[in-house]
């Protein structure tokens, strides 16, 4: 009986392999922001044409994506939490980290702005929110955005909120968090890409607006991480090819050309 099930399993595996794997596929471990905004979908045909690689991805929070990388479950990583990434490299789980594009974070909140943070630099804005105990929705899922938010509380000289009644740990993706913030009239930190797609869907009727933006500390840097040879079974050659495309003139141009609602979401910044 075991043999039969094993054979059936293999058969199923082969039939999937036969129908789906026409071109060589490469599995990217990435974050929800690259997938939810539609960037990766837009790049798939261009990558296929230029490199012959069929890009597929597992879109999760950066924490989980790095864990997938640690376990050699994906071929390449595309993430945005520089601190955690450097630690990942130092611990020997990744061999190289290459910055290739960025977008930025914005602080959004209810139009009424109970903490009066409009136009303030981020540190002052967070202090104001904490002092009036205005509701703040946090991703709370160890994602890149969550790590950025935690860093901002720290650099603002504030204790990291945790059990405070006004601090809402959502534990889900950015769009869910934004919707929750809209329902509850809360402030939240979001990447601009997800914000634009959120706003477009609600036609600006969500009741949330951008209140603080442009601060230097709000830059959201994305990097590509190659995994070490100790990951014996992953596609190292394909990973290098994909990395090279993202850093190439074509790849960088394709990122710049990607627009949502007529607005550019990501700025390519690979080192020349």
């Amino acid at each position: 009986m075991r043999k039969l099930t094993l054979m059936l399993t293999l058969l199923a595996a082969l039939s999937c392999a036969g129908t789906v794997f026409a071109a060589e596929t490469i599995l990217v471990g990435t974050t929800t922001s690259t997938a939810d905004t539609g960037l990766l979908d837009a790049l798939v045909p261009k990558i296929l044409k230029a490199t012959g690689l069929e890009m597929r991805w597992i879109a999760v929070g950066t924490g989980k994506a790095l864990e997938h990388g640690k376990n050699c479950d994906v071929d390449i990583l595309m993430v945005h939490a520089p601190g955690a990434e450097k630690k990942f490299i130092d611990e020997g789980f990744g061999v190289s980290r290459t910055e290739f594009m960025f977008n930025d974070f914005v602080l959004v909140g209810p139009v009424k702005d109970p903490a009066k943070i409009k136009g303030k630099p981020v540190a002052d804005a967070l202090k104001a929110i904490a002092s009036v105990k205005a509701p703040f929705a946090s991703r709370g899922d160890d994602s890149g955005t969550h790590k950025m938010e935690q860093g901002l509380w720290k650099t603002s000289g504030l204790p990291l909120p945790d059990k405070e009644s006004w601090y809402i740990g959502v534990g889900q993706g950015m769009l869910v968090t934004l919707r929750l913030a809209a329902e509850r009239g809360a402030y939240t930190l979001t990447d601009r890409g997800t914000w634009i797609s959120f706003e477009a869907k609600d036609h600006g009727r969500s009741g949330l607006v951008i209140l603080s933006e442009g601060d230097k500390v709000l830059r959201n840097q994305y990097s590509i991480i190659l995994l070490p040879p100790t990951c014996a079974k992953i596609k190292h050659e394909a990973a290098k090819k994909l990395q090279a495309w993202f850093l190439s003139k074509d790849g960088q141009q394709a990122i710049a050309d990607f627009k949502l609602e007529g607005k550019s979401l990501f700025t390519p910044n690979a080192a020349k």
Partner: protein, 245 residues
């Protein structure tokens, strides 16, 4: 309420346009469910039957264990299966992570206790007078076994229908072990989670409707088969159909 009417019309549109993303999700769901259900029934029906029919030492303990496993959260099953299947895990060599068979393995762990437990209960509760009657008619052990099997068949079909319902609608295992990869391991349920997370509520509802249509078709087919195999016996057939619906 807009979401529902919009969801309904979008479901029809997706199906009529033969949308490749939707159909690949339907295909993945069907494939995973069929594999997991097949293995669950293949192992679960004989095990459940044995557990209900035979008296052996430690039987109560086994029974307790199986019923206990019914409470295992699917997220935990997903985590355990992930830990086994990851490249660095004990079964990493098999390369099953983020594949359809890998998901089916996890979903089998979900379906198996259901099939075993419900089958055992069905066999246990077959009328004890049946045993006496069959034996008094001079039947041997094998004929008794066969008679019990025939008597318990509708309850077993209900076990299969229940396992099908749990497996086809599961999301924790499918997400964790499958990875929700477009055109590969994205099932209808993980697609719903994705669309909902993206704020595409209507598309999520549309996919939910499609899932329910698929489930209805399966239940109708099973009901049809059952009706045909058992044309004369109206009473029991009705019971079985009730279970399948």
């Amino acid at each position: 309420m807009d979401y529902f009417s919009e969801g309904l019309s979008r479901a029809v549109a997706l199906l009529l346009a033969l949308d490749p993303e939707t159909f690949s999700a339907v295909w993945a769901t069907g494939m995973v469910t069929a594999l997991a259900l097949f293995v669950s029934l293949l192992l679960g029906l004989p095990l459940g039957f044995g557990l209900g029919h035979f008296r052996f030492p430690g039987r109560r303990f086994v029974r307790l264990f199986v019923d206990w496993m019914l409470s295992l959260p699917t997220v935990v099953i997903g985590l355990i299966v992930y830990a086994f299947l990851t490249s660095r895990g004990p079964l990493g060599e098999w390369g099953l992570l983020f594949t359809i068979p890998g998901m089916a393995l996890g979903l089998t762990l979900l379906g198996l206790p259901i099939v075993i437990s419900m089958t055992a209960t069905a066999v246990e509760s077959t009328d004890s007078r049946l045993t006496d009657m069959v034996l008094s008619l001079g039947a041997d052990r094998w004929q008794l076994l066969l008679a019990t099997l025939i008597e318990a068949r509708f309850a077993m079909a209900l076990a299969a229908a229940t396992a099908f319902g749990r497996i086809v609608s599961e999301i924790g295992i499918a997400m964790m072990v499958g990875g929700n990869i477009k055109y590969q391991t994205r099932t209808i349920t993980t697609a719903i989670a994705l669309e909902t997370g993206k704020g595409e509520f209507a598309t999520g509802i549309a996919l939910g409707i499609i899932l329910m249509v698929v489930a209805l078709v399966v239940n109708l087919l099973v009901g049809l088969l059952r009706g045909r195999s058992n044309g004369g016996q109206g009473g029991s057939g009705g019971l079985g159909a009730g279970g399948g619906a």
